[in-house]
Amino acid sequence: MTLNTQPNIPEPDGFYDELIAAHHGLTKDQSDALNARLILILANHVGDRAVLRDALKAARP
Protein backbone atom coordinates (compact mmCIF):
# COMPACT_ATOMS: atom_id res chain seq x y z
CA MET A 1 0.00 0.00 0.00
CA THR A 2 1.17 3.53 -0.66
CA LEU A 3 0.12 6.80 0.92
CA ASN A 4 -2.93 8.21 -0.85
CA THR A 5 -2.39 11.95 -1.32
CA GLN A 6 -5.21 12.32 -3.85
CA PRO A 7 -8.60 13.72 -2.69
CA ASN A 8 -10.24 10.87 -0.74
CA ILE A 9 -12.70 12.48 1.71
CA PRO A 10 -16.28 12.95 0.48
CA GLU A 11 -17.50 16.50 0.91
CA PRO A 12 -14.18 17.95 2.18
CA ASP A 13 -15.68 21.24 3.40
CA GLY A 14 -17.93 19.34 5.78
CA PHE A 15 -14.99 17.33 7.19
CA TYR A 16 -12.93 20.49 7.63
CA ASP A 17 -15.80 22.04 9.57
CA GLU A 18 -15.98 19.01 11.86
CA LEU A 19 -12.24 19.06 12.45
CA ILE A 20 -12.25 22.70 13.50
CA ALA A 21 -15.45 22.26 15.52
CA ALA A 22 -13.84 19.44 17.47
CA HIS A 23 -11.44 22.04 18.94
CA HIS A 24 -14.18 24.51 19.80
CA GLY A 25 -13.95 25.90 23.32
CA LEU A 26 -10.69 24.11 24.11
CA THR A 27 -7.57 25.74 25.51
CA LYS A 28 -4.33 25.45 23.57
CA ASP A 29 -3.21 22.61 25.86
CA GLN A 30 -6.48 20.75 25.43
CA SER A 31 -6.31 21.22 21.66
CA ASP A 32 -2.73 19.95 21.54
CA ALA A 33 -3.82 16.89 23.51
CA LEU A 34 -6.78 16.32 21.19
CA ASN A 35 -4.54 16.53 18.13
CA ALA A 36 -2.12 14.03 19.63
CA ARG A 37 -4.92 11.58 20.45
CA LEU A 38 -6.39 12.04 16.98
CA ILE A 39 -3.06 11.32 15.29
CA LEU A 40 -2.59 8.17 17.37
CA ILE A 41 -6.13 6.93 16.64
CA LEU A 42 -5.76 7.54 12.90
CA ALA A 43 -2.26 6.09 12.81
CA ASN A 44 -3.51 2.90 14.44
CA HIS A 45 -6.33 2.72 11.90
CA VAL A 46 -3.83 2.97 9.04
CA GLY A 47 -1.53 0.48 10.68
CA ASP A 48 0.79 0.07 7.68
CA ARG A 49 4.26 1.21 8.82
CA ALA A 50 5.41 2.15 5.32
CA VAL A 51 2.34 4.34 4.78
CA LEU A 52 2.81 5.96 8.18
CA ARG A 53 6.46 6.63 7.39
CA ASP A 54 5.45 8.28 4.10
CA ALA A 55 2.82 10.35 5.92
CA LEU A 56 5.39 11.54 8.48
CA LYS A 57 7.69 12.50 5.63
CA ALA A 58 4.91 14.33 3.75
CA ALA A 59 4.01 16.29 6.90
CA ARG A 60 7.54 17.45 7.71
CA PRO A 61 8.12 21.13 6.81
Partner: protein, 533 residues
Protein backbone atom coordinates in the same frame (compact mmCIF):
# COMPACT_ATOMS: atom_id res chain seq x y z
CA UNK B 1 46.97 -0.48 50.82
CA UNK B 2 43.79 -2.24 50.00
CA UNK B 3 40.68 -0.82 51.58
CA UNK B 4 37.03 -1.68 51.19
CA UNK B 5 34.94 0.93 49.38
CA UNK B 6 31.54 -0.52 50.20
CA UNK B 7 29.91 -2.44 53.06
CA UNK B 8 29.27 -6.13 52.70
CA UNK B 9 26.03 -8.07 52.98
CA UNK B 10 27.85 -11.42 53.15
CA UNK B 11 31.57 -12.03 53.69
CA UNK B 12 32.08 -15.01 51.43
CA UNK B 13 35.72 -15.14 50.37
CA UNK B 14 37.91 -13.51 53.02
CA UNK B 15 41.47 -12.59 52.16
CA UNK B 16 43.88 -15.47 52.61
CA UNK B 17 47.54 -14.40 52.52
CA UNK B 18 48.73 -17.89 51.62
CA UNK B 19 46.56 -17.92 48.48
CA UNK B 20 48.17 -14.81 47.01
CA UNK B 21 50.88 -16.66 45.09
CA UNK B 22 52.52 -15.69 41.86
CA UNK B 23 51.86 -17.96 38.93
CA UNK B 24 50.29 -18.50 35.56
CA UNK B 25 46.59 -19.22 34.96
CA UNK B 26 44.69 -20.02 31.77
CA UNK B 27 41.91 -17.59 32.72
CA UNK B 28 41.80 -14.80 35.28
CA UNK B 29 38.52 -13.00 35.86
CA UNK B 30 38.66 -9.53 37.36
CA UNK B 31 35.60 -8.98 39.53
CA UNK B 32 33.67 -11.38 41.76
CA UNK B 33 30.24 -9.95 41.00
CA UNK B 34 27.47 -12.00 39.41
CA UNK B 35 28.93 -11.91 35.89
CA UNK B 36 32.47 -12.81 36.97
CA UNK B 37 31.31 -15.68 39.14
CA UNK B 38 28.90 -17.02 36.51
CA UNK B 39 31.63 -16.96 33.86
CA UNK B 40 34.16 -18.60 36.19
CA UNK B 41 31.71 -21.27 37.25
CA UNK B 42 30.81 -22.10 33.66
CA UNK B 43 34.49 -22.38 32.65
CA UNK B 44 35.40 -24.50 35.67
CA UNK B 45 32.48 -26.86 35.11
CA UNK B 46 33.81 -27.42 31.60
CA UNK B 47 37.22 -28.20 33.10
CA UNK B 48 39.08 -24.99 32.32
CA UNK B 49 40.92 -23.71 35.42
CA UNK B 50 39.77 -20.24 36.38
CA UNK B 51 40.90 -17.76 39.01
CA UNK B 52 38.59 -14.93 40.09
CA UNK B 53 40.07 -11.84 41.72
CA UNK B 54 37.83 -9.51 43.70
CA UNK B 55 38.77 -6.25 45.39
CA UNK B 56 36.43 -7.04 48.30
CA UNK B 57 35.84 -10.21 50.25
CA UNK B 58 32.14 -10.70 49.78
CA UNK B 59 28.91 -9.45 48.36
CA UNK B 60 28.02 -5.78 48.66
CA UNK B 61 24.94 -4.53 50.47
CA UNK B 62 21.94 -3.01 48.81
CA UNK B 63 19.25 -4.71 46.80
CA UNK B 64 20.44 -3.15 43.51
CA UNK B 65 19.28 -5.40 40.65
CA UNK B 66 16.04 -7.11 41.70
CA UNK B 67 14.43 -8.48 38.55
CA UNK B 68 15.81 -11.69 37.10
CA UNK B 69 14.43 -13.06 33.85
CA UNK B 70 13.72 -16.61 32.79
CA UNK B 71 16.78 -16.83 30.55
CA UNK B 72 18.99 -15.89 33.51
CA UNK B 73 17.36 -18.59 35.65
CA UNK B 74 17.88 -21.15 32.88
CA UNK B 75 21.57 -20.29 32.72
CA UNK B 76 21.77 -20.34 36.52
CA UNK B 77 20.16 -23.80 36.47
CA UNK B 78 22.93 -25.01 34.20
CA UNK B 79 25.45 -23.54 36.66
CA UNK B 80 23.75 -25.12 39.67
CA UNK B 81 22.28 -22.00 41.28
CA UNK B 82 18.87 -21.66 39.65
CA UNK B 83 16.78 -23.69 42.12
CA UNK B 84 18.01 -21.63 45.12
CA UNK B 85 17.09 -18.44 43.28
CA UNK B 86 13.59 -19.54 42.31
CA UNK B 87 12.87 -20.89 45.80
CA UNK B 88 13.86 -17.62 47.43
CA UNK B 89 12.55 -15.28 44.76
CA UNK B 90 9.13 -13.73 44.40
CA UNK B 91 7.27 -14.74 41.24
CA UNK B 92 5.08 -12.08 39.67
CA UNK B 93 3.01 -11.90 36.51
CA UNK B 94 0.62 -8.97 36.85
CA UNK B 95 1.58 -5.36 36.24
CA UNK B 96 -0.62 -2.30 36.71
CA UNK B 97 -0.05 1.07 35.13
CA UNK B 98 -1.46 4.22 36.69
CA UNK B 99 -1.55 7.80 35.44
CA UNK B 100 -2.35 10.46 38.01
CA UNK B 101 -4.84 8.96 40.43
CA UNK B 102 -6.39 6.40 38.09
CA UNK B 103 -5.45 2.99 36.74
CA UNK B 104 -4.79 3.06 33.00
CA UNK B 105 -4.71 -0.69 32.49
CA UNK B 106 -3.17 -3.87 33.79
CA UNK B 107 -1.38 -6.71 32.09
CA UNK B 108 -0.51 -10.30 32.81
CA UNK B 109 2.83 -11.58 31.52
CA UNK B 110 0.89 -14.83 30.98
CA UNK B 111 3.96 -16.97 30.97
CA UNK B 112 3.75 -19.77 28.44
CA UNK B 113 3.17 -23.18 29.99
CA UNK B 114 5.78 -25.89 29.83
CA UNK B 115 8.85 -24.02 31.06
CA UNK B 116 10.71 -25.01 34.20
CA UNK B 117 11.26 -21.35 35.12
CA UNK B 118 8.86 -18.43 35.58
CA UNK B 119 9.04 -15.38 33.30
CA UNK B 120 10.59 -13.32 36.11
CA UNK B 121 11.50 -13.46 39.75
CA UNK B 122 12.29 -10.58 42.05
CA UNK B 123 15.29 -11.22 44.25
CA UNK B 124 17.72 -8.86 45.95
CA UNK B 125 21.09 -8.90 44.20
CA UNK B 126 23.04 -10.02 47.32
CA UNK B 127 20.99 -13.25 47.36
CA UNK B 128 21.55 -13.74 43.63
CA UNK B 129 25.31 -13.35 44.13
CA UNK B 130 25.39 -15.52 47.24
CA UNK B 131 23.63 -18.40 45.46
CA UNK B 132 26.22 -18.21 42.67
CA UNK B 133 29.05 -18.26 45.23
CA UNK B 134 27.36 -21.22 46.97
CA UNK B 135 27.35 -23.03 43.63
CA UNK B 136 31.01 -22.10 43.15
CA UNK B 137 31.86 -23.59 46.55
CA UNK B 138 29.99 -26.78 45.67
CA UNK B 139 31.88 -26.99 42.37
CA UNK B 140 35.14 -26.42 44.25
CA UNK B 141 34.17 -29.24 46.64
CA UNK B 142 33.64 -31.54 43.66
CA UNK B 143 37.19 -30.78 42.54
CA UNK B 144 36.29 -28.36 39.76
CA UNK B 145 39.24 -26.02 39.02
CA UNK B 146 37.91 -22.74 40.40
CA UNK B 147 39.41 -20.33 42.90
CA UNK B 148 38.34 -16.92 44.16
CA UNK B 149 40.72 -14.56 45.93
CA UNK B 150 39.25 -11.76 48.02
CA UNK B 151 40.99 -8.41 48.57
CA UNK B 152 43.12 -8.90 45.49
CA UNK B 153 43.01 -5.60 43.63
CA UNK B 154 44.30 -5.43 40.07
CA UNK B 155 46.37 -2.27 39.75
CA UNK B 156 48.12 -2.82 36.44
CA UNK B 157 47.66 -4.76 33.20
CA UNK B 158 49.97 -5.31 30.26
CA UNK B 159 49.60 -7.78 27.42
CA UNK B 160 51.82 -9.30 24.78
CA UNK B 161 50.88 -11.64 21.94
CA UNK B 162 51.46 -14.57 24.33
CA UNK B 163 49.90 -13.56 27.62
CA UNK B 164 48.57 -10.91 30.00
CA UNK B 165 50.46 -9.76 33.10
CA UNK B 166 48.52 -8.38 36.06
CA UNK B 167 49.85 -6.37 39.00
CA UNK B 168 47.86 -7.23 42.10
CA UNK B 169 47.72 -5.41 45.41
CA UNK B 170 46.77 -7.19 48.64
CA UNK B 171 46.74 -6.29 52.35
CA UNK B 172 50.23 -7.85 52.46
CA UNK B 173 51.55 -6.00 49.46
CA UNK B 174 51.80 -6.51 45.71
CA UNK B 175 52.46 -9.55 43.54
CA UNK B 176 52.12 -10.50 39.89
CA UNK B 177 50.13 -13.03 37.90
CA UNK B 178 50.07 -13.99 34.26
CA UNK B 179 47.17 -15.41 32.27
CA UNK B 180 46.39 -16.63 28.78
CA UNK B 181 43.17 -14.62 28.85
CA UNK B 182 41.66 -12.07 31.21
CA UNK B 183 37.93 -11.33 31.52
CA UNK B 184 37.08 -7.94 32.99
CA UNK B 185 33.79 -8.19 34.90
CA UNK B 186 34.55 -5.19 37.07
CA UNK B 187 31.40 -3.19 36.58
CA UNK B 188 30.24 0.02 34.95
CA UNK B 189 33.21 1.99 36.32
CA UNK B 190 35.60 -0.79 35.23
CA UNK B 191 39.11 -0.01 36.50
CA UNK B 192 40.42 -2.42 33.85
CA UNK B 193 38.84 -0.35 31.09
CA UNK B 194 40.39 2.77 32.59
CA UNK B 195 43.84 1.12 32.92
CA UNK B 196 43.72 0.20 29.25
CA UNK B 197 42.61 3.72 28.30
CA UNK B 198 39.50 2.48 26.51
CA UNK B 199 36.52 4.73 25.96
CA UNK B 200 32.92 4.06 26.96
CA UNK B 201 30.79 6.41 24.90
CA UNK B 202 27.05 6.84 25.05
CA UNK B 203 24.13 8.93 26.05
CA UNK B 204 23.63 10.43 29.51
CA UNK B 205 20.04 10.65 30.66
CA UNK B 206 19.35 13.76 32.66
CA UNK B 207 17.30 12.25 35.42
CA UNK B 208 17.70 11.13 39.02
CA UNK B 209 15.93 8.15 40.51
CA UNK B 210 15.51 7.62 44.23
CA UNK B 211 15.39 4.00 45.33
CA UNK B 212 13.96 3.23 48.74
CA UNK B 213 13.69 -0.40 49.73
CA UNK B 214 11.37 -0.70 52.70
CA UNK B 215 10.43 -3.64 54.92
CA UNK B 216 6.75 -3.69 55.82
CA UNK B 217 3.84 -5.99 56.43
CA UNK B 218 1.57 -4.95 53.61
CA UNK B 219 -1.20 -6.79 51.88
CA UNK B 220 -0.54 -5.31 48.46
CA UNK B 221 -0.71 -8.06 45.86
CA UNK B 222 2.52 -9.39 44.34
CA UNK B 223 2.29 -7.17 41.28
CA UNK B 224 4.37 -4.50 39.58
CA UNK B 225 2.71 -1.12 40.04
CA UNK B 226 3.93 1.77 37.96
CA UNK B 227 2.66 5.35 38.13
CA UNK B 228 3.14 8.04 35.55
CA UNK B 229 2.75 11.47 37.20
CA UNK B 230 1.62 10.06 40.57
CA UNK B 231 -0.72 12.34 42.57
CA UNK B 232 1.78 13.36 45.25
CA UNK B 233 2.46 16.83 46.61
CA UNK B 234 6.13 17.04 45.62
CA UNK B 235 5.33 15.03 42.56
CA UNK B 236 7.98 12.77 41.21
CA UNK B 237 7.49 12.16 37.50
CA UNK B 238 7.00 8.45 38.01
CA UNK B 239 6.90 5.91 40.80
CA UNK B 240 7.30 2.16 41.02
CA UNK B 241 6.26 -0.34 43.71
CA UNK B 242 7.57 -3.89 43.42
CA UNK B 243 7.80 -6.77 45.91
CA UNK B 244 11.00 -8.56 46.93
CA UNK B 245 11.53 -11.49 49.32
CA UNK B 246 11.65 -10.95 53.12
CA UNK B 247 8.70 -8.48 53.12
CA UNK B 248 10.84 -5.91 51.33
CA UNK B 249 9.33 -3.62 48.72
CA UNK B 250 11.18 -1.61 46.10
CA UNK B 251 9.92 1.97 45.81
CA UNK B 252 11.45 4.01 43.03
CA UNK B 253 10.73 7.74 42.50
CA UNK B 254 11.80 9.61 39.39
CA UNK B 255 12.95 12.98 40.70
CA UNK B 256 14.09 14.87 37.62
CA UNK B 257 17.47 16.42 36.87
CA UNK B 258 17.87 19.54 39.01
CA UNK B 259 17.79 18.14 42.52
CA UNK B 260 19.80 18.61 45.67
CA UNK B 261 21.13 15.09 45.93
CA UNK B 262 22.25 15.36 49.53
CA UNK B 263 18.94 16.83 50.68
CA UNK B 264 16.97 14.15 48.82
CA UNK B 265 18.93 11.40 50.57
CA UNK B 266 18.10 12.80 53.99
CA UNK B 267 16.12 10.13 55.82
CA UNK B 268 13.37 12.45 57.03
CA UNK B 269 12.80 13.69 53.50
CA UNK B 270 12.70 10.17 52.09
CA UNK B 271 10.24 9.18 54.83
CA UNK B 272 8.05 12.15 53.99
CA UNK B 273 7.84 11.01 50.38
CA UNK B 274 7.12 7.41 51.35
CA UNK B 275 4.53 8.38 53.98
CA UNK B 276 2.60 10.25 51.36
CA UNK B 277 2.97 7.42 48.85
CA UNK B 278 1.86 4.52 51.08
CA UNK B 279 -1.59 4.19 52.66
CA UNK B 280 -1.97 6.29 55.84
CA UNK B 281 -0.37 4.81 58.93
CA UNK B 282 1.69 2.12 57.15
CA UNK B 283 4.66 1.17 59.32
CA UNK B 284 7.90 0.37 57.55
CA UNK B 285 11.64 0.16 58.01
CA UNK B 286 14.05 1.71 55.51
CA UNK B 287 16.34 -1.09 54.34
CA UNK B 288 18.37 0.62 51.65
CA UNK B 289 18.24 3.97 49.87
CA UNK B 290 20.17 5.30 46.93
CA UNK B 291 19.93 7.90 44.19
CA UNK B 292 21.06 6.85 40.77
CA UNK B 293 21.45 8.39 37.37
CA UNK B 294 22.23 6.35 34.33
CA UNK B 295 23.69 6.24 30.88
CA UNK B 296 23.12 4.02 27.89
CA UNK B 297 26.49 3.17 26.39
CA UNK B 298 28.79 0.40 25.35
CA UNK B 299 32.42 -0.19 24.51
CA UNK B 300 33.18 -0.13 20.82
CA UNK B 301 34.84 -3.57 21.09
CA UNK B 302 34.27 -6.13 23.86
CA UNK B 303 37.54 -7.84 22.98
CA UNK B 304 40.97 -6.26 23.13
CA UNK B 305 43.51 -8.95 22.33
CA UNK B 306 43.62 -11.30 25.29
CA UNK B 307 41.34 -9.14 27.42
CA UNK B 308 37.56 -9.54 27.14
CA UNK B 309 34.91 -7.38 28.77
CA UNK B 310 31.61 -8.75 30.07
CA UNK B 311 28.59 -7.31 31.86
CA UNK B 312 28.41 -3.67 32.94
CA UNK B 313 32.09 -3.11 32.17
CA UNK B 314 31.22 -3.59 28.48
CA UNK B 315 27.76 -2.06 28.33
CA UNK B 316 25.37 -0.08 30.47
CA UNK B 317 21.64 0.47 30.14
CA UNK B 318 18.90 2.13 32.15
CA UNK B 319 17.33 -0.14 34.75
CA UNK B 320 13.95 -0.01 33.02
CA UNK B 321 13.42 -3.41 31.49
CA UNK B 322 15.80 -5.33 33.75
CA UNK B 323 18.45 -5.56 31.07
CA UNK B 324 21.60 -4.96 33.10
CA UNK B 325 22.38 -8.07 35.13
CA UNK B 326 20.24 -10.21 32.82
CA UNK B 327 22.26 -9.27 29.75
CA UNK B 328 25.54 -9.71 31.65
CA UNK B 329 24.62 -13.29 32.50
CA UNK B 330 24.04 -13.87 28.78
CA UNK B 331 27.55 -12.51 28.14
CA UNK B 332 28.92 -15.10 30.56
CA UNK B 333 26.87 -17.81 28.83
CA UNK B 334 28.21 -16.75 25.43
CA UNK B 335 31.86 -16.31 26.38
CA UNK B 336 32.56 -19.32 28.62
CA UNK B 337 32.13 -22.09 26.06
CA UNK B 338 34.07 -20.22 23.40
CA UNK B 339 37.02 -19.53 25.68
CA UNK B 340 36.92 -23.12 26.93
CA UNK B 341 37.19 -24.53 23.39
CA UNK B 342 39.93 -22.08 22.41
CA UNK B 343 42.01 -22.94 25.49
CA UNK B 344 41.59 -26.66 24.81
CA UNK B 345 42.82 -26.15 21.24
CA UNK B 346 39.47 -27.26 19.83
CA UNK B 347 38.61 -23.92 18.19
CA UNK B 348 40.65 -21.05 16.76
CA UNK B 349 41.31 -17.90 18.75
CA UNK B 350 39.11 -16.04 16.23
CA UNK B 351 36.06 -17.73 17.81
CA UNK B 352 36.46 -15.13 20.57
CA UNK B 353 35.80 -12.37 18.04
CA UNK B 354 32.28 -13.74 17.69
CA UNK B 355 31.77 -13.08 21.40
CA UNK B 356 31.97 -9.38 20.57
CA UNK B 357 29.82 -9.73 17.45
CA UNK B 358 27.01 -11.59 19.20
CA UNK B 359 26.99 -9.77 22.52
CA UNK B 360 27.45 -6.29 21.03
CA UNK B 361 24.37 -7.13 18.95
CA UNK B 362 22.61 -8.02 22.22
CA UNK B 363 23.86 -4.85 23.89
CA UNK B 364 22.63 -2.71 20.99
CA UNK B 365 19.20 -4.32 21.24
CA UNK B 366 19.12 -3.68 25.00
CA UNK B 367 20.30 -0.09 24.62
CA UNK B 368 17.64 0.54 21.97
CA UNK B 369 14.85 -0.87 24.16
CA UNK B 370 16.10 0.84 27.25
CA UNK B 371 16.48 4.21 25.49
CA UNK B 372 12.95 4.00 24.12
CA UNK B 373 11.55 3.24 27.58
CA UNK B 374 13.49 6.13 29.03
CA UNK B 375 12.20 8.52 26.38
CA UNK B 376 8.64 7.49 27.26
CA UNK B 377 9.28 7.94 31.00
CA UNK B 378 11.07 11.25 30.57
CA UNK B 379 9.74 12.97 27.44
CA UNK B 380 12.50 15.14 26.01
CA UNK B 381 10.29 17.86 24.50
CA UNK B 382 6.93 19.48 25.09
CA UNK B 383 5.39 17.64 22.14
CA UNK B 384 6.92 14.35 23.24
CA UNK B 385 5.15 14.78 26.56
CA UNK B 386 1.86 15.64 24.85
CA UNK B 387 2.04 12.41 22.87
CA UNK B 388 3.11 10.40 25.92
CA UNK B 389 0.11 11.62 27.88
CA UNK B 390 -2.18 11.11 24.86
CA UNK B 391 -1.09 7.44 24.82
CA UNK B 392 -1.81 7.12 28.54
CA UNK B 393 -5.24 8.76 28.17
CA UNK B 394 -6.23 6.58 25.22
CA UNK B 395 -4.94 3.40 26.90
CA UNK B 396 -7.71 3.56 29.51
CA UNK B 397 -10.44 2.89 26.94
CA UNK B 398 -8.69 1.73 23.80
CA UNK B 399 -6.70 -1.49 23.56
CA UNK B 400 -4.62 -0.22 20.64
CA UNK B 401 -2.77 2.32 22.79
CA UNK B 402 -1.75 -0.12 25.53
CA UNK B 403 1.18 -1.68 23.68
CA UNK B 404 2.61 1.84 23.28
CA UNK B 405 2.75 2.41 27.04
CA UNK B 406 6.40 1.82 27.86
CA UNK B 407 7.54 1.56 31.46
CA UNK B 408 10.32 -0.82 30.41
CA UNK B 409 10.24 -3.69 27.92
CA UNK B 410 11.24 -6.63 30.05
CA UNK B 411 14.39 -8.51 29.20
CA UNK B 412 14.22 -11.36 26.71
CA UNK B 413 17.32 -12.99 25.22
CA UNK B 414 18.24 -11.86 21.73
CA UNK B 415 18.43 -14.08 18.66
CA UNK B 416 21.77 -14.00 16.88
CA UNK B 417 20.23 -13.51 13.45
CA UNK B 418 22.67 -13.28 10.57
CA UNK B 419 25.71 -14.09 12.71
CA UNK B 420 28.75 -15.98 11.45
CA UNK B 421 28.29 -19.05 13.67
CA UNK B 422 24.81 -19.86 12.35
CA UNK B 423 24.63 -22.98 10.21
CA UNK B 424 21.97 -24.09 7.77
CA UNK B 425 18.25 -23.75 8.45
CA UNK B 426 17.05 -26.61 6.27
CA UNK B 427 13.92 -27.31 8.32
CA UNK B 428 10.62 -25.71 7.48
CA UNK B 429 10.23 -25.18 11.22
CA UNK B 430 8.97 -22.60 13.71
CA UNK B 431 10.59 -19.14 13.49
CA UNK B 432 11.30 -19.06 17.22
CA UNK B 433 13.79 -21.94 16.95
CA UNK B 434 15.65 -20.77 13.83
CA UNK B 435 19.46 -20.80 14.01
CA UNK B 436 20.69 -18.13 16.41
CA UNK B 437 17.67 -18.48 18.73
CA UNK B 438 17.91 -19.42 22.38
CA UNK B 439 16.21 -22.80 22.82
CA UNK B 440 12.79 -22.40 24.38
CA UNK B 441 12.23 -24.83 27.23
CA UNK B 442 9.60 -27.56 26.87
CA UNK B 443 8.31 -30.38 29.06
CA UNK B 444 9.58 -33.91 28.40
CA UNK B 445 8.26 -37.19 29.76
CA UNK B 446 10.96 -36.80 32.39
CA UNK B 447 11.68 -33.20 33.41
CA UNK B 448 12.33 -30.38 30.97
CA UNK B 449 14.27 -30.07 27.73
CA UNK B 450 16.80 -27.53 28.97
CA UNK B 451 17.82 -29.86 31.82
CA UNK B 452 19.28 -32.09 29.11
CA UNK B 453 21.27 -29.36 27.32
CA UNK B 454 24.20 -29.37 29.69
CA UNK B 455 26.76 -27.00 28.28
CA UNK B 456 28.09 -29.08 25.40
CA UNK B 457 27.19 -29.13 21.74
CA UNK B 458 24.11 -31.33 21.54
CA UNK B 459 22.43 -33.11 18.66
CA UNK B 460 18.74 -33.10 19.41
CA UNK B 461 16.59 -35.50 17.39
CA UNK B 462 12.80 -35.26 17.31
CA UNK B 463 10.96 -38.12 15.59
CA UNK B 464 14.20 -39.40 14.06
CA UNK B 465 17.53 -40.87 15.11
CA UNK B 466 20.79 -39.16 15.91
CA UNK B 467 23.41 -40.12 13.34
CA UNK B 468 26.78 -41.34 14.58
CA UNK B 469 29.26 -38.48 14.30
CA UNK B 470 33.00 -38.63 15.01
CA UNK B 471 34.02 -35.18 16.21
CA UNK B 472 36.88 -33.91 18.35
CA UNK B 473 34.39 -31.54 20.00
CA UNK B 474 32.51 -32.73 23.07
CA UNK B 475 29.11 -33.67 21.66
CA UNK B 476 25.99 -34.90 23.46
CA UNK B 477 23.18 -36.84 21.80
CA UNK B 478 19.57 -36.42 22.81
CA UNK B 479 16.98 -38.47 20.94
CA UNK B 480 13.47 -37.73 22.11
CA UNK B 481 10.94 -40.51 22.14
CA UNK B 482 7.28 -40.34 21.12
CA UNK B 483 6.42 -40.02 24.81
CA UNK B 484 8.46 -36.80 24.93
CA UNK B 485 6.82 -35.18 21.93
CA UNK B 486 4.26 -33.09 23.78
CA UNK B 487 2.17 -30.52 21.94
CA UNK B 488 4.38 -27.80 23.42
CA UNK B 489 7.56 -29.45 22.16
CA UNK B 490 6.06 -29.97 18.69
CA UNK B 491 4.83 -26.40 18.52
CA UNK B 492 8.25 -25.02 19.55
CA UNK B 493 10.55 -27.34 17.57
CA UNK B 494 8.62 -28.99 14.74
CA UNK B 495 5.72 -26.83 13.62
CA UNK B 496 4.31 -28.73 10.64
CA UNK B 497 7.48 -30.74 10.14
CA UNK B 498 7.20 -34.47 10.96
CA UNK B 499 10.77 -34.75 12.24
CA UNK B 500 13.82 -32.62 12.95
CA UNK B 501 17.48 -32.73 13.87
CA UNK B 502 18.85 -29.72 15.76
CA UNK B 503 22.49 -28.87 16.48
CA UNK B 504 22.49 -26.86 19.69
CA UNK B 505 25.42 -24.82 21.02
CA UNK B 506 26.79 -25.16 24.56
CA UNK B 507 24.94 -21.92 25.44
CA UNK B 508 21.62 -23.49 24.35
CA UNK B 509 21.32 -21.40 21.18
CA UNK B 510 20.38 -23.21 17.97
CA UNK B 511 23.35 -23.62 15.60
CA UNK B 512 21.62 -25.43 12.71
CA UNK B 513 18.59 -27.58 11.97
CA UNK B 514 17.50 -30.04 9.33
CA UNK B 515 14.73 -32.59 8.74
CA UNK B 516 17.63 -35.06 8.76
CA UNK B 517 21.36 -34.75 8.17
CA UNK B 518 24.32 -36.95 7.36
CA UNK B 519 27.52 -36.86 9.43
CA UNK B 520 29.29 -34.65 6.87
CA UNK B 521 26.57 -31.99 7.10
CA UNK B 522 26.70 -32.10 10.90
CA UNK B 523 30.50 -31.80 10.96
CA UNK B 524 30.27 -28.85 8.58
CA UNK B 525 27.77 -27.12 10.88
CA UNK B 526 29.98 -27.83 13.91
CA UNK B 527 32.90 -26.26 12.06
CA UNK B 528 30.83 -23.16 11.31
CA UNK B 529 29.58 -22.95 14.90
CA UNK B 530 33.16 -23.03 16.23
CA UNK B 531 34.56 -20.50 13.79
CA UNK B 532 36.53 -23.04 11.77
CA UNK B 533 35.12 -22.30 8.34
Amino acid sequence: MVGATYALAHELYPYRPEAAREGHHPVIIIGGGPIGVATGLDLAQKGTPTLILDDHDGVGQGSRAICFAKRTLEIADRLGAGRDMVEKGVVWNVGRVFHGDGEVFNFNLLPEDGHRNPAFINLQQPYFEKFLIDALRRAEGEGKPIEIRGRNVVTGLTQTAEHVTLDIDTPDGPYQLTADYVIACDGARSPTRAMMGLSFEGRVFEDNFLIADVRMKADFPTERWFWFEPPLAEAPQSALLHKQPDDVWRIDFQLGWDIDRKAELDESRIRKRIDEFLPDGTEYELVWTSIYTFQCRRMERFRHGRVLFAGDSAHQVSPFGARGANSGIQDADNLAWKLDLVLKGLAPDSLLDTYHDERAHGADENILNSTRATDFLTPKSEMSKIFRNAVLTLARDHAFARPMVNSGRLSVPCTYDGMALNGPDALDGPARTRPGSPCPDAPLADGFLLDHLKGKFTLLALGTEVPEVESTLPLDHLALTDADLSDALRERYLGEAPQALYLIRPDQHVAARWPEADPAAILAALAIATGQS
